[in-house]
């Protein structure tokens, strides 16, 4: 690697906090903000530093007098060789040091010496420093250093992952890259909760693959006979313990009577005709059961069978786009995730990753949600049972703090809302002020990976998808024109 610049001595640099270098003239095009440089501390130790700022200096303009332009018969640059005095100074933040022989990484203990030459860190050195894994999940590239960001699957997912960004910043694209990598990895079970049916569009090539299963919401039914009173009462958060006990008695009675072939209607009928149950309890239970029945999610049989949807390397996408009611979506999510989690606890299914799009709908911080408890439970305890979460949201501030703070790795894309930024700063360990400040300026497809998955918060460009998407999504103008055409035909 060629020299980029030389460490200069200023009142504050070089120190453990900041290193300033003067960029060599022929290296101007090689340096950019966010780039990783290496500076030798000894023959065997390299300091890794990141470019945090680049500034230009020119002694001719340090005390520039506005009168200059007023009197100069020709401009300032026409009289003085000002260009000869322009220097480019890069401010670097030392991140750590790597011992070349042992590859040991440690914090910087002594500053580099003034006069030392800085170079662009090589991909090998950077891979060691960032803790990348050659056989890990390839999510993107470090644009400035030509390094492939391959993250160790355990470090990335075992303690959960959050993908956070505003709408249109590339969350779903990044998730599809993750799915591509997991598809190729082929050992985890994956359940994707897809409220908008995006992933069926994104991953058409693997749609017909037996390892990919798409479950349309209209085919989902929850078999009432498979639910205990306590499980059923989780869909009705307002139910009291006494009412749950009564419901349990009702279920036991109906089960004997109907021989495991019953639906909500049977429970309602039984309640309605019972003379022994307190009328207030009866009315409340009937009301709740009717509200569940109106979701059309419950029947006397479960579909699909939970035993069939998760296998090693299988991706199951639950397309909830046909359901508009959030409560219904939460019921399905709770049912699927809860049951699969317990199956995983019993070792009946492979290690599993739950990818939940629009996670703020399923585990909000303030409002009630049927699925919140199970998601928080997995966030807290899933690690022990190799059940991981990948929570995707455009409003992190609305998400359960319990769930989000348990996500030890975060892939953060463009975030504009200051409340969201602040929230991310609080829940995400290791993210510093400067990284946080740069979140609104990230380009589409650019992300900051921070946490357990990587040794240092790093900006990466999400790689290009290998699988082609079904169709490009029409923009607003195309969609409006298409509708108008259809509307005109129908009208006349």
């Amino acid at each position: 690697m060629s020299n980029i610049g030389i460490v200069i001595s200023t009142p504050t640099s070089p120190s453990l906090e900041i290193i300033e270098i003067i960029i060599e003239k022929n290296a101007m095009h090689k340096i950019e903000r966010g780039q990783f440089l290496c500076i030798p501390l000894t023959e065997n130790i390299q300091i890794i530093a990141i470019v945090t700022n680049i500034r230009k200096t020119n002694a001719y303009y340090e005390t520039f007098d506005p009168n200059v332009q007023e009197i100069a018969s020709r401009n300032y640059e026409g009289i003085f060789p000002t260009g000869e005095w322009e220097n480019t100074v890069a401010e670097l933040k030392p991140l750590g040091q790597v011992e070349i022989n042992t590859k040991a990484i440690s914090r910087v203990k002594v500053p580099v010496s003034p006069g030392t030459r800085a170079k662009v860190a090589s991909p090998q050195l950077l891979s060691t420093f960032l803790g990348l894994d050659d056989s890990g999940l390839y999510l993107g590239n470090l644009s400035s250093n030509n390094v492939r960001i391959k993250l160790n699957i355990s470090k990335l997912l075992r303690k959960h992952l959050a993908i956070l960004a505003i709408s249109g910043a590339g969350k779903s694209y990044a998730t599809s890259i993750l799915l591509e990598e997991l598809y190729n990895y082929g050992k985890l079970g994956i359940l994707v909760i897809d409220p908008h049916g995006e992933y069926t569009q994104i991953l058409p090539e693997i749609e017909k693959d037996p390892r990919v299963q798409i479950i349309n919401s209209s085919f989902i039914s929850i078999g009432v006979p498979s639910l205990t009173a306590w499980q059923l009462s989780e869909f009705m958060p307002e139910i009291s313990i006494v009412q749950a006990r009564v419901l349990n008695d009702v279920i036991e009675s109906v089960k004997k009577e109907k021989n495991e072939e019953y639906a909500l209607q049977d429970l309602i009928y039984y309640l309605d005709n019972s003379e022994t149950i307190n009328s207030r309890t009866k009315d409340a239970l009937i009301g709740w059961l009717l509200s569940l029945q109106r979701t059309f999610l419950f029947s006397n049989q479960s579909n699909p069978s939970l035993d069939e949807i998760i296998e090693p390397g299988q991706i199951t996408i639950v397309d909830l786009s046909g359901i508009q009611n959030i409560r219904s979506r939460q019921i399905i999510t709770h049912y699927l995730i809860g049951n699969l989690y317990y199956k995983r606890m019993r070792g009946e299914i492979p290690p599993i990753l739950f990818i939940i799009e629009e996670a703020h709908q399923f585990c909000p911080e303030t409002s009630r949600s049927i699925s919140k408890r199970i998601i928080e439970t997995i966030a807290r305890e899933g690690r022990k049972f190799y059940a991981s979460l990948c929570l995707i949201s455009q409003r992190p501030v609305n998400m359960s703090v319990t769930a989000l703070s348990q996500c030890n790795s975060n892939l953060i894309m463009r975030i504009r809302n200051p409340y969201d930024q602040d929230f991310i700063g609080r829940i995400s360990e290791g993210i510093d002020r400067s990284a946080l400040k740069s979140l609104p300026d990230l380009e589409i497809g650019e992300a900051l990976i921070v946490g357990e998955a990587i040794n240092y918060p790093t900006f990466l460009k999400i790689r290009t998808r290998r699988f082609r998407s079904k169709d490009h999504l029409p923009d607003l103008e195309e969609k409006a024109a298409e509708y108008k055409e259809r509307w005109s035909k129908n009208r006349y």
Partner: protein
């Protein structure tokens, strides 16, 4: 304080009258006319178009250190050339380098402070002249470049040191020799050579004015009311000329007495004039050697061209009017304290000599 205010007021009044008068010098007695070649006391100038011209500036940096075992001088000199276009500098070159390395000289032990200072200043002047000489001989020949005007910082006048130290005297002789060679070489190559004195403390012009004024008063009796003798007695050239000259004007050229080798003195003489480049800055004193074989008109024309070339590179600020090539050369040649300290540290590390220690005062392990 009142006296200062009164004198100042009178000075401004006197200068205003004299400036408006702009006396015709041709009517002066012959013994005064030899002091100048100009026809009038002040000349209005028109800045030249310097597009396509190459103008250079030369300056030197100097520093000295009295160490335990050695007294050392540090020098460097640099020449800067810029080729101009109507809107920008086309190219800037540096000789011998953009940042020339420091030249170190060790003086003899036992020099008096005056001799040490004399030696330092002569050697610095030699370094600058050597660069100028090399520019005109080597640089021009090697790169087939032309230089239209070469400006040197300071005055060419180095007085003969009053010393018994042969080494210093030899340096002085060497200086004069290099200076004469430079002037001849520049003349042969068609390079205009001028020295720029930024902060003159001279009163040569004031003295000359003192001799001329009586003759002017004869024809302009309203000057009688002003006590011009008192005004001139209490003025230096810069002080007076700040009021006398307007921007884009120059003073008359006056002869500058300077002892030079006989053969050289037959061909060249040193002349000075003041040039006001910025309205609110003191004038520059410009010094140049003019060929005595030129006619009076040719000499006036040469000064006029030179002044009009200096103006455009000096007009960038209302309160500061030093030619840009001199500013650039000064900035490049300046020896910074940190540079000297780094060099001394390097020398101490390399030679581990007690002689390179600084004074005990500077080595105190505390800062009181």
């Amino acid at each position: 304080m009142k006296e200062i205010s009164t004198i100042n007021q009178q000075k401004i009044e006197f200068c205003s009258v004299l400036r408006d008068l702009n006396p015709i010098l041709a009517s002066l007695p012959p013994h005064l006319q030899t002091s100048t070649c100009d026809l009038k006391m002040f000349s209005l100038l028109q800045p030249s178009d310097i597009s396509g011209l190459t103008i250079g500036g030369i300056d030197g940096g100097y520093s000295s250190r009295l160490l335990l075992g050695f007294d050392i001088f540090l020098f460097r000199a640099i020449a800067v050339f810029s080729t101009y276009s109507p809107s920008k500098i086309l190219k800037t070159s540096y000789f011998p380098a953009k940042t020339p390395s420091l030249e170190i000289a060790v003086s003899d032990v036992g020099l008096s402070t005056l001799d040490f200072e004399n030696m330092g200043s002569i050697r610095r002047a030699i370094t600058e002249l050597e660069v100028a000489n090399k520019v005109i001989t080597e640089y021009l020949d090697l790169r087939s470049k032309k230089i239209d005007l070469l400006l040197l910082d300071g005055s060419p006048v180095v007085n003969k040191p009053i010393t018994k130290n042969d080494k210093i005297l030899n340096y002085y002789i060497s200086y004069v020799s290099i200076l004469t060679r430079l002037v001849r070489k520049a003349n042969e190559n068609g390079v205009k050579l001028a020295w720029i004195v930024k902060d003159s403390r001279s009163n040569l012009f004031t003295k000359l004015l003192g001799r001329i004024t009586p003759f002017i008063i004869e024809e302009n009796p309203h000057l009688f009311s002003l006590d011009y003798r008192q005004i001139l007695k209490r003025s230096r050239d810069m002080d007076l000329l700040y009021y006398l000259l307007l921007a884009n004007t120059r003073s008359m050229v006056f002869y500058r007495q300077y002892s030079m080798p006989k053969q050289f003195a037959q061909d060249f003489a040193l002349y000075s004039f003041y040039l006001k480049t910025a309205p609110f800055d003191i004038p520059l004193r410009i010094e140049l050697f003019q060929s005595l074989h030129q006619s009076r008109e040719e000499r006036i024309k040469e000064v006029q061209i030179l002044s009009e070339l200096i103006l455009p590179v000096s007009q960038y600020n209302r309160t500061y009017g030093v030619p840009a090539p001199i500013v650039e050369a000064d900035a490049r040649a300046r020896i910074r304290e940190t540079e000297v300290e780094s060099l001394l540290q390097l020398l101490r590390k390399r030679y581990n000599s007690l002689g390179l220690w600084t004074k005990r005062r500077e080595r105190a392990p505390w800062k009181l």
